[in-house]
């Protein structure tokens, strides 16, 4: 871990300003990912701006009939919230499928969105990784890639977004609210929040430098049956090989998003119209143009069968 300076600002815009004016500064909230990465010198911020004292930890109804989730609401609290459990069960289930009880107690809503990939080459500073060290190359392309992306990747990077919560938020068409150094705020739709790696894999999201997440808003409830199905090699405490977030209506229509397959939660709205025809019709369309490696080609079949499992669970 490199030495760093540290401050606790007193308002969100001050926090944003502090990160914007300090070279190589980062926000810290729960720290469940950032601190690990700092110990391994994968992240080497010179300055940390601790946002934990800023409030931003309530869940409130919105005038539109949805919920506004503060950036610092802990994963445990969000998953347990009665309104979330009732109207956004897919989000609650996704949260509970992730990490461990201890980590969820600490991890925040905003921090969860910003967690970085678990690609093994990102984690080994002796190896080439464009995401960690731009221009160094991608060892994963011809390396150990069983966990990695099958769609939306590039010649520069096949990392995945490792989270579960974001997949449910993408499904729900949530919006990420931010504030910048000047105090102006904006809403970023989840569809646009995580980006594909392209030739800049070091950039995970569309946040601008110093832009601070203040909340995630959930639109009004969709109804239907909510399913989050996460497939992994062991029963708990593992990243998804493939996950499916789905909301299915009694008439067979619905939505489906996939985790563990791309640099962002993967949802193709145009494919969802085929849900009444079954899983294969949806995944054929949603994964058209996939470029898996030899080691992770199984994820295409697995995505189809996991969606099938989700549909089955919703009908049961």
């Amino acid at each position: 871990m490199k030495s760093f300076t540290y401050e606790r600002p007193s308002s969100p815009s001050e926090a944003a300003a502090a990160v914007a004016r300090t070279p190589n500064a980062k926000f810290i909230a729960g720290g469940t990912n950032l601190l690990d990465l700092m110990k391994l010198q994968i992240e080497t911020p010179a300055h940390l701006v601790d946002v934990n004292g800023l409030g931003l930890d309530t869940i409130e109804p919105t005038p539109e009939g949805g919920l506004r989730v503060g950036a610092l609401v802990r994963n445990t609290d969000l998953a347990a919230d009665a309104r979330v459990r009732k109207d956004y069960a897919v989000l609650s289930r996704a949260l509970l499928a992730g990490a461990s009880g201890q980590l969820r107690n600490k991890a925040t809503t905003a921090g969860n969105l910003l967690q970085r990939t678990r690609c093994p080459y990102f984690y080994d500073t002796a190896q080439a990784c464009n995401k960690r060290q731009p221009g160094s190359g991608c060892s994963a392309l011809d390396g150990v890639s069983r966990q990695l992306a099958v769609i939306g990747g590039s010649e520069a990077c096949i990392a995945t977004h490792p989270g579960d919560m974001a997949v449910a938020m993408r499904l729900l068409d949530a919006n990420v609210e931010t504030v910048d150094a000047k105090g102006s705020s904006r809403k970023i739709p989840m569809a646009e929040f995580h980006r594909l790696p392209g030739d800049r894999p070091e950039i995970d999201t569309t946040l601008k430098a110093g832009e601070l997440i203040t909340a995630v808003t959930l639109p009004k409830p969709l109804g239907g049956t909510h399913v989050y199905r996460k497939v992994r090699d062991r029963a708990s405490y593992a990243y998804a090989l493939v996950s499916v977030a789905a909301v299915l209506q009694p008439d067979g229509t619905g939505r489906a998003a996939f985790g563990g397959v791309s640099h962002k939660p993967w949802r193709v709205e145009a494919a969802e119209g085929d849900l009444p025809r079954g899983a294969k019709a949806v995944t054929d369309k949603a994964f058209a143009g996939a470029k898996p490696t030899h080691q992770n080609a199984y994820k295409l079949k697995l995505a189809e069968r996991t969606l099938m499992a989700a549909i089955h669970e919703a009908r049961a």
Binding site: M1, K2, P120, S139, R146, D233, R234, S236, R305, H312
Partner: protein, 738 residues
């Protein structure tokens, strides 16, 4: 004491303390955090500085230069020792890879420097400031690709499994060609990491030319000898102390870079230094269980009598390394007149392969016991019955050599009964429970029983307290407790009158913890010392030792009873060593078991979840059913890991295990492990030792993975012959689920 004739009646047979399900006497220290592990020995020496080990970033090649100038000026840095300024050091007696020194890199994350600083964080940060100029060379990293060039090899795991390059009985090829039913398949097992909870760690302090190493090690005598050799100093100048070990599984049988670099760092810094290997270094710097490619051929008559059996295994290792002795059990487990076992070794430039819990038998049975299942199906015979039918009571390679005691059949039959095997659906893929395809599987468990010379010192004080000292280790197995039970039984005192001190090289040399020989051998050493102490007590009290009865804290002879402590005026200390004669050669000594497993396989996603497990073990007298059960369920859990998830993922281009942390190298979590039942057959083996016990610590893992794989087949009708059985290997063969 020499043990060279089968044990007769002795005080252990009273079973007042031995054989009772006793809580760990060190349990309260462990649960209250007052049992210090190596890295927590804060009180043993003042002013401890922190060492951080830098691992090589290439798998093979040379180091042209290392620039430490910036690192040396970093905050808190006290000293840096690099591999370039250190001539290549001798290896420890059991090491294959060199641990430190010189300009050659043999494997990824080989230690190339230690940075010593005031704090751990400073040492780690400074290590990132060292720049290394490598001259990488092309290496061989892919076992499947190198298997063609593998050479026949002799091998010995050092843990009771082994063999010559090729061993034959009768005419295997001829008998196989003539067999009415034949079977021939190839399987693969993965590289596995010990992944013990406590990392390798050492605190080193020099006093003049003498060094003390407070470390985490299973084998004190090996560590003692190895550290003297590596450091080039007399054994008398090295002390090793390892009273608590947070898991080893074979990974701590041999000294590793933490001990060497703590010693070098302490010398360079002129201060005591502590070093723990980081999690990534445990995968690539230390040892692992090597991957294997195995072929099994079985020929049998239609009624299921094996007439020909062959087991061949290929594994890889660094130069001077041993093969994984995966064919060893096949020499002994089943009858059959015509036999072939063979091992081949390919040169690989991956980190060192070496012993991991049940080396040889664990990966060997993962394959043999699936092959037996496949052959049983081919024959149309129940897999339990097929095994029973081919039992042998003699060593098939030397038929006049009997097993000391063998009840594999008893394990299989009792297990089948308790597990409800009769309800098994023989037709695979035919039982469904909701989203789950359900199946059951069985496998035999087999592990040789090793006996090793083991010494102990026992001291009696005037209060009647018995103190046992031996360099034996407790690696989480329960050694403290069974040694206390042994001394209490022998001296006729309650457990709280026994003090056990372990793991110090100043104590008498013991068997150490490895190869499941520790419990039986070390308690036999304590038995021997206690026999001597009983004689000394009797002599002091002027009674005939044969007439003396030691019970309830008293020594009784006829009507006379004297408190034990009275014999200890001024203290009474004796020492003895059990030495084993030819009985382990005259007889084949092994341990046996049967594993039964029920799994569910998700009908859509092919996720496998274990639903039920039962092990029945026949391993002589069980010294402490409670800690023995813990050993077996730990082995069963590890076997589930090997079956379903554990794999060091080889980057065959760059030559290293890429998933080198516990997020990437998955082991079972609680949610993966269902209720586990363990039954020990009530038996004794007087040929094994005066304790009449054998090992169980490794028996528990042997065969488990095959029982899981056989259950998966029974559930799905799909055979997966490559471990671990992750869903990507068979999802495309799963039946339609729509």
């Amino acid at each position: 004491m020499k043990f060279d004739t089968p044990a007769g009646q002795n005080p252990i047979d009273r079973l007042k303390v031995v054989g009772q399900p006793t809580d760990r006497i060190d349990g309260k220290y462990k649960t209250t955090g007052t049992a210090p592990y190596a890295y927590e020995r804060h009180d043993v020496t003042p002013s401890q500085a922190y060492g951080y080990v830098l691992g090589a970033g290439i798998a093979k090649g040379g180091i042209r230069g290392m620039d430490t100038s910036i690192a040396r000026t970093a905050p808190g840095v006290l000293a840096i020792v690099t591999t370039l300024e250190t001539p290549r050091m001798e290896r420890g007696t059991m090491n294959t890879a060199y641990l430190f020194g010189g300009d050659q890199v043999q494997h990824y994350h080989q230690a190339i420097a230690v940075v010593v600083a005031e704090t751990f964080e400073q040492a780690r940060a400074a290590s990132f400031l060292i720049t290394v100029d490598y001259t990488p060379e092309t290496g061989k990293f892919d076992l499947a690709a190198e298997a063609k060039s593998a050479k026949p090899v002799k091998g010995d795991s050092g843990e009771g499994s082994g063999g010559n390059g090729e061993e034959r009985v009768g005419d295997f090829e001829g008998a196989f060609a003539k067999a009415q039913v034949t079977f021939d398949e190839i399987y693969a097992t993965a590289d596995e990491s010990h992944a013990m909870m406590e990392p390798h760690a050492t605190v080193a302090a020099w006093e003049g030319d003498k060094v003390t190493l407070w470390t985490s090690n299973q084998m004190i005598t090996w560590a003692h000898e190895s550290m003297a050799k590596i450091l080039g100093i007399p054994k008398a100048n090295v002390r090793i102390d390892s009273p608590y070990v947070g898991g080893g599984f074979g990974g701590k049988l041999f000294v590793r870079a933490d001990a060497v670099l703590a010693a070098l760092g302490a010398k360079a810094a002129g201060r005591p230094v502590k070093v723990a290997l980081t999690r990534p270094l445990i995968a690539n710097n230390t040892t692992h269980r090597p991957a294997t490619i195995q072929r099994v051929r079985i020929g049998a008559t239609k009624d299921g009598t094996i007439t020909a059996i062959a087991h061949e295994s290929t594994s890889g290792n660094l130069p001077d390394g041993d093969p994984e002795t995966a064919v060893s059990q096949t020499k002994l487990l089943y009858a059959g007149a015509n036999r072939l076992t063979a091992m081949k070794l390919a040169l690989l430039d991956l980190p060192e392969g070496n012993a991991m819990r049940a080396p040889g038998e664990a990966p060997g049975l993962m394959v043999l016991e699936v092959a037996m299942d496949e052959m049983a199906e081919k024959l149309g015979i129940d897999p339990v019955e097929f095994r029973v039918r081919n039992d042998t009571q003699v060593d098939p390679h030397a038929p006049d050599r009997r097993f000391s005691h063998r009840d594999l059949v008893g394990c299989l039959k009792l297990g089948a009964d308790r597990f409800g095997w009769a309800k098994r659906n023989a037709k695979p893929g035919s039982l469904r429970d909701g989203q789950w395809l359900v199946g059951v599987g069985v496998a035999s468990a087999f592990r040789n029983n090793m006996v090793m010379k083991s010494g102990a010192r026992v001291r009696l004080d005037e209060q009647g307290t018995v103190t046992v000292e031996t360099d034996m280790t407790d690696i989480g197995t329960g050694t403290y407790t069974i040694i206390a039970q042994t001394a209490a039984e022998m001296m006729g005192v309650p457990l709280d009158k026994v003090v056990v001190r372990l793991g110090d090289s100043d104590f008498p040399a013991s068997a150490g913890s490895g190869g499941q020989w520790g419990a039986n051998s070390s308690t036999s050493g304590v038995y021997a010392a206690c026999v001597k102490l009983r004689e000394a007590v009797a002599q002091r009290l002027g009674i005939n030792s044969a007439d003396a009865v030691f019970e309830d804290g008293q020594v009784r002879s006829g009507n006379r009873g004297v408190p034990l402590g009275e014999a200890a005026q001024g203290g009474l200390t004796v020492e003895d060593t059990i030495e084993f004669g030819e009985l382990s050669k005259t007889y084949q000594q092994s341990t046996f078991g049967a594993h039964f497993v029920e799994v569910g396989v998700d009908v859509h996603t092919a996720e496998i979840r274990v639903r039920r497990m039962l092990a029945v073990c026949a391993a002589g007298r069980i010294l402490n059913p409670k800690s023995a059960r813990s050993q077996v369920i730990g082995g069963m859990t590890m076997g589930v890991g090997a079956a379903l998830m554990e794999e060091l993922a080889v980057d065959t281009k760059r030559g290293f295990f890429a998933n080198h942390d516990l997020a990437g190298y998955e082991v079972p979590v609680h949610a993966d492990i269902p209720h586990q039942d363990v039954i020990f057959l009530d038996e004794v083996d007087p040929i094994s030792s005066p304790m009449k016990a054998k090992g169980v610590g490794e028996l528990g893992i042997c065969g488990v993975s095959a029982a899981v794989a056989n259950a998966v087949y029974n559930a799905t009708g799909i055979r997966v012959r490559e471990y671990p059985l992750t869903l990507d290997k068979f999802l495309d063969r799963m039946p339609d689920a729509a």
